[in-house]
């Protein structure tokens, strides 16, 4: 027997999923996160889960770990005291920022304070030109003086950020060498290592964040590794990164900033897996939890990539109010809309939902913890979508009267409408808000979501998915098996991978195939080496190459994916066509008669995807009838409450078919379909809903 274990630490819960690699059977477990000692919940959860599955720890071949620890450390400002060394003349790059206002109408907008305080930012006399030539040599005496000062000030970490180091890293590398050798104990991050992208503000922000969290992650991984050793764990230990791939603990220690948002990435990865299993190449992965909702587009079974992520928003969840970091990530849109989002009446006199959240304390009014403000969860309770006695599988009783009072007081009375109607207003306003965000996300990327399917997960996702799909005219919604621990599932299907980038501007005119291959050689060798060190052999490593290209002189680039190089390598002569095709897709226009140039060379090395050919099934089937009873549920089509069947998801059987309106309950969430929708249970126990099927008949 052999098992794979996925463990995802979230803000509230630590989720675990154990896959029996031979049978495809999965056992899942959920326990509260232990914020002070996060490793504790991981180890305790593992012991409990192994007992449930009657699996010996020695038979776990791999443990794959995802965590929000890095994100939280940045949000809560719990990283190291960090110093920074920059090129002379550029001490203020982080404070100056991009110089643009992200909201024209918000005069009181705010930006995050840099992670390094200004007195700890030191300028050093050196200069490298955009061509990589040294214009001014590094002053090593000055460097030693700086390091002495930084040490005296108590700095634990050091970010080394010089101009144009993405072309020529030698000054940064020399600083790193001296700092490491002569001043041992600093956690040193050099911007040319973290991700050698052109654009100093983002690269330096990313590097300071890497340095800021390095010590904390090092200690955490150490603790977890020794704990696993104590429990006689003998398998391999991998950590999930933001791009949907996993890395070894050593790589995670070197590049902790790449662990940002790895939980949500795992969710999107799982959606891609579902897309493959169900033969739905294009889908919208929809995850809605307590404070935010996230969407990701899966196109041709693949999650979409990008190389920029904004984290730790400090002002009303507004885009622009967070740190912009450059790391390889799965492209996702995040909206400040979750079960705890607060509803109110805005300046116009109509309902507004979010982005403020009641959080866990006091939480929604129905939690009975003195929350006075109505939230989405309160609305969902009043509408009959949630069972007050079966929230989190009955672990928490919900107070319907408190929900009604909050909704009536804040919305019903001022608008002159009934509480039920106001609750519906909250629910549907939230749906419209999320649908709008997904539409925009797709529009910005040139995709037409109307032919997409949707996967819905997270605590609140399955409650809202069918309505959002209706608004977006999405015909199919999948409520996958294990929706409540989707990220932990995603960890089980993630391959080892490493990505790197080389920023180098090269004109296509006069470029030959050899030069193109040569430019890729170094990043390919680097990415491959990371995977080989993790134990993969070269023949199992697949290389994906992407180029950012643009018309010379234009300020924006188009990314093209080069065909798999395992056979012949790409000819320079093919680049024009590849660019043209992508250009036409993005701009809906034929291309210009201008010379082309390459700006970035991107390389991704990926190991084999873990085997799950048998699919997977949840080892939690219940006996007996699936129909648990009936509940009164609000249906706007009937303008009131309708008696609605409630099913136990665990007792459903493959090929079962349910007509909406219906509620399907499981411990972690409730799925809803509405009048006109229909659900079929597939062989893998996924619920596949057809939206508005009745209207189309």
């Amino acid at each position: 027997m052999s098992y794979r274990l996925g463990v995802d630490i979230g803000g509230t819960f630590t989720d675990l999923a154990l896959l029996d690699e031979n049978s495809g059977g999965v056992t899942i477990h959920k326990l509260l996160t232990t914020p002070k000692e996060p490793a504790q919940a991981v180890l305790q959860g593992m012991i409990e889960l192994l007992a449930m599955a009657k699996a010996p720890v020695q038979e776990i071949t791999a443990l794959i770990h995802g965590t929000t620890l890095v994100t939280n450390a940045v949000i809560e400002r719990k990283g190291s005291l960090c110093a920074m060394i920059v090129t002379k003349g550029f001490r203020d790059v982080l404070s100056i920022g991009a110089e643009n206002r992200y909201d024209q109408f918000d005069m009181r907008l705010r930006y995050p304070e840099p992670l390094v305080s200004r007195p700890l930012i030191f300028e050093i006399d050196e200069r490298i030109g955009p061509d990589g030539k040294v214009r001014k040599a590094l002053d090593e005496a000055e460097l030693r003086a700086i390091l002495t000062k930084a040490r005296a000030a108590g700095a634990e970490a050091l970010a080394v950020c010089l101009l144009h180091s993405y072309v020529e890293p030698k000054h940064e590398q020399r600083i790193k060498e001296i700092a490491t050798k002569e001043f041992p104990g600093f956690y040193v991050s050099a911007s040319s290592d973290v991700l050698p992208f052109m654009r100093e503000f983002e690269r330096w922000t990313t590097t300071t964040m890497n340095a800021y969290v390095a010590r904390m992650m090092d200690l955490y991984i150490q603790k977890l590794e020794s704990g696993l050793q104590r429990e006689k764990f003998a398998g391999r230990f991998y950590i999930m990164t933001s791009n949907g791939g996993t890395v070894t603990p050593d790589t995670a220690r070197t590049y902790p900033v790449r662990l940002l948002e790895s939980g949500p990435a795992a969710g999107a990865l799982m959606s891609a897996h579902v897309s493959r299993l169900l033969g739905l190449p294009d889908l919208l992965s929809f995850d809605m939890g307590g404070t935010t909702a996230k969407g990701a587009l899966i196109v041709g079974h693949e999650p979409q990539k990008k190389y920029e992520l904004e984290v730790a928003h400090i002002h009303e969840h507004k885009t622009g109010s967070g740190f912009t970091v450059k790391i390889p990530v799965i492209d996702m849109v995040e909206i400040g809309m979750g079960g705890g989002s607060i509803a109110g009446i805005d300046e116009r006199g109509v309902i507004k939902v979010g982005p403020r959240s009641a959080g866990a304390e006091p939480g929604p009014a129905c939690y009975g913890q003195d929350g006075q403000l109505p939230t989405i969860t309160d609305a969902n309770l009043l509408l009959g979508f949630l069972d007050p006695d079966f929230f989190l599988g009955g672990r928490m009783k919900l107070d319907r009267a408190a929900a009604e009072q909050a909704i009536m007081g804040r919305l019903g009375k001022p608008l002159g409408i009934e509480a039920m109607h106001a609750a519906w207003g909250i629910h549907q306003t939230a749906n419209e808000g999320m649908a709008q965000a997904f539409r925009l996300h797709a529009a910005e990327r040139g995709h037409d979501y109307r032919s997409f399917a949707m996967t819905a997960f997270g605590g609140s996702g399955p409650l809202h998915a069918a309505r959002i799909a209706r608004i977006l005219r999405i015909p199919h919604v999948v409520f996958p098996v294990g929706a409540g621990v989707m990220s932990a599932f995603g960890l089980l299907v993630s391959p080892l991978s490493f990505e790197t980038v080389l920023s180098r501007t090269l004109a296509i005119d006069g470029l030959d195939d050899k030069t193109l291959d040569a430019a890729f050689a170094a990043p390919i060798a680097e990415a491959t080496a990371f995977l080989e060190r993790a134990g993969l052999s070269r023949k199992d490593i697949r290389i994906r190459r992407r180029l950012d290209m643009r018309y010379r002189g234009q300020g924006y680039e188009i990314e093209i994916l080069l065909p798999d190089p395992s056979g012949k390598s790409t000819r320079v002569s093919e680049l024009g066509d590849l660019f043209g095709k992508e250009y036409e897709r993005v701009f809906s226009t034929s291309f210009l008669r201008e010379p082309l140039e390459i700006v970035n060379f991107k390389v991704e090395a990926v190991g084999p995807a873990p085997k799950m050919q048998a699919g997977y099934r949840l080892l939690r089937q219940a006996e007996g009838a699936a129909l648990k009873g009936h509940r009164m549920v609000y249906q706007p089509e009937s303008q009131g409450l309708v008696s609605c069947p409630v099913y136990d998801r665990a007792a459903l059987k493959p090929a079962d078919m349910l007509e909406g309106p219906a509620l399907i309950e499981e411990k972690e969430s409730t799925s809803i379909i509405n009048a006109g929708d229909r659900i079929t249970v597939d062989a893998g126990m996924n619920l596949v809903a057809e939206i508005g099927v009745a209207e189309r008949r």
Binding site: G89, F90, D92, P130, A153, D346, V350, I417, L440, F587
Partner: protein, 552 residues
């Protein structure tokens, strides 16, 4: 549908706003112009059949607030509605019926449902080029500014008029990009039409009349209610700004009466010979922007929210320039309208007003890179943000317009010009209970070895950003080449190896500096934003500099 259910109204209203967002996203994605992609020099609006604005994209430029309504009327005056067909599209870049200069092209598409006109979609963007002498404030002749198109029907019944396209192509420099941007706007309006019709189908609306009445009614009521909190009376302001030669006076007189505001710009100086004159549509837009910020900033822009506002100005004062005055650089003066109007309410709305910010600075750099290839690039940089009640100004953040900068590494790669340093300027933020944001100093060296031509759009050299309510002004703007000052709105040559120093102004302070929290002064000294001497001089506080890293 006499009254709309409040839940449904909110949802439908959000959807109309969402349609403008989606149109904006498509426009930005497909535009070539950097100023559109990075600085959102654009607007997107949805109108009903009467030409009433119902929703405007949130990412629309402040200088385009409410201008589209005039554009629609202008098109309707020239092309009677009865003659419009499904699939038509009208364009114009007339400065007086558009956004104040020829570089913004405006697009109007009538939307039909079952052969009945139900509304219009609208977009405008800053074009990559419009011919003429190119983007500059140093143009004395309107006809040298570029191609001028009155309202014309670019698309009739779904077919592009090839002769209009040919005229445009033969008048502009980068015709491929200009045509690309025109088609981006066409696509945006086609998308708008599709989304609008889908929306109407979904909610079974036969027209937008009742929904429009509700949106306009609610918005107007909210605006009136906010204005009604300002006591009736007259609120005035004047300011001195620099012109092309000598200073200019701008003046406004705002009459608040029972939930309405009338703004008159009498007392402002006459138009000038250069292209910094402001057509009234732009003056009005920048004033609307100020009044929205002062009242209900989050209220979506539409016919209703502008309803209680009215504006007037004497003919051919610089804020109401009539044809044929040149207007290419109308923003150079027009941006001041926002602090001018806002400043009138400094005492009436103390929690809403902002001290003046260091405005955004543009330099159009033309010349050759190493190797001799021609290049033309815009350099942007911003001064400090004006302080507000309870809030220090952010460093290097401009109002009323802001521009995303080109990274140093990108700039050096693109131009070969070296940026020697780019630093915040200590003590540049105006002192106050809340300190103005810091300006910056940028030092550039001409390394490519060829002379460069620099066209400047600088401001606040002779008149630094003012503080409010007792706050002190920030430090002024300045350009120097090899140590000699050059004109802020002029054109100069930077010879090989010469240095240009750009000093961006600090933002004005808010409130009496003596009331500033001493800990904030100490923290500013620790961070190097204020010098020890500055702390003593401006705040009367002696600070002993603490060593690096010590927590304040």
């Amino acid at each position: 549908m006499a009254t709309i259910d409040p839940v449904l109204l909110g949802i439908m209203w959000d959807r109309l706003n969402a349609i403008t967002s989606e149109m904006t996203a498509a426009l930005i994605r497909t535009s070539f112009s950097t100023i559109v992609r990075e600085s959102y020099d654009l607007s997107v609006v949805v109108f009903d059949a009467k030409g009433r604005a119902l929703a405007q994209g949130r990412l629309s430029a402040p200088g385009h607030s409410g201008t589209a309504a005039n554009t629609i009327r202008y098109v309707m005056d020239n092309f009677p509605v009865a003659e419009m067909l499904p699939g038509d599209l009208f364009i114009t870049n007339d400065p007086w019926h558009g956004t104040g200069h020829v570089y913004d092209m405006n697009f109007v598409r009538p939307v039909f449902r079952k052969n009945r006109l139900i509304g219009f979609t609208f977009s405008d963007t800053h074009m990559p080029d419009m011919g003429g002498l190119g983007f500059s404030a140093n143009i004395a002749d309107k006809f040298a500014e570029g191609l001028h198109l009155p309202a014309v029907r670019l698309i009739r019944d779904g077919k592009v008029d090839p002769s209009i396209m040919a005229i445009i192509r033969s008048n502009v420099r980068v015709s491929e990009q200009v045509v690309g941007d025109i088609m981006a706007n066409v696509t945006c309006n086609e998308l708008g039409e599709r989304l609008l019709l889908e929306f109407m189908d979904e909610y079974r609306l036969t027209d937008l009349g009742a929904l429009g009445d509700a949106i306009i009614g609610k918005s107007e009521a909210a605006m009136r209610e906010a204005i009604a909190r300002i006591p009736n009376g007259i609120y005035e302001n004047r300011m001195q700004i620099e012109g092309l030669d000598g200073s200019l006076t701008l003046a406004c007189r705002c009459t608040v009466k029972d939930g309405t505001i009338a703004v008159d710009f009498a007392g402002s100086d006459r138009i000038v010979a250069g292209a910094i004159n402001v057509p009234f549509c732009y003056t009005r837009a920048m004033a609307i922007f100020a009044l929205r910020l002062l009242t209900v900033p989050n209220l979506p822009a539409n016919e209703g929210s502008i309803g209680p506002l009215s504006f007037s100005a004497p003919d051919n004062c610089i804020l109401n320039a009539l044809p044929p005055a040149p207007t290419a650089g109308r923003h150079v003066v027009g941006h001041y309208v926002t602090p001018l109007v806002m400043g009138a309410f400094a005492d009436a709305l103390p929690e809403r007003v902002q001290a003046q910010s260091g405005m955004v600075d543009l330099i159009n750099v033309q010349g050759k890179v190493v190797g001799g290839r021609e290049m033309s690039n815009m350099f942007f940089a911003s001064g400090g943000y004006g302080a507000m009640d309870g809030m220090d100004g952010m460093p290097t953040l401009a109002t009323p317009a802001s521009m995303k900068i080109i990274p140093i590494e990108v700039w050096e790669t693109l131009t070969g010009i070296t940026i020697e340093s780019k630093r915040l300027l200590p003590d540049s933020g105006g002192a106050g209970k809340y300190r103005g944001g810091l300006g910056q100093e940028v030092i550039m060296r001409n390394d490519p070895g060829h002379p460069l031509t620099l066209s400047f759009f600088g401001r606040q050299t002779d008149f630094a950003p003012q503080g409010v309510r007792g706050g002190k002004p920030g430090t002024p703007h300045r350009y120097t080449i090899e140590g000699k000052s050059v004109h802020a709105i002029g054109r100069s040559t930077l010879d090989a190896n010469e240095k240009l120093v750009v000093i961006l102004p600090g933002g004005g302070g808010y409130g009496d500096p003596k009331q500033r929290d001493p800990d904030s002064v100490r923290r500013d000294v620790r961070d190097g934003f204020v010098s020890a001497e500055g702390a003593r001089r401006d705040y009367g506080i002696d600070v002993v500099r603490s060593p690096a890293g010590e927590k304040a």
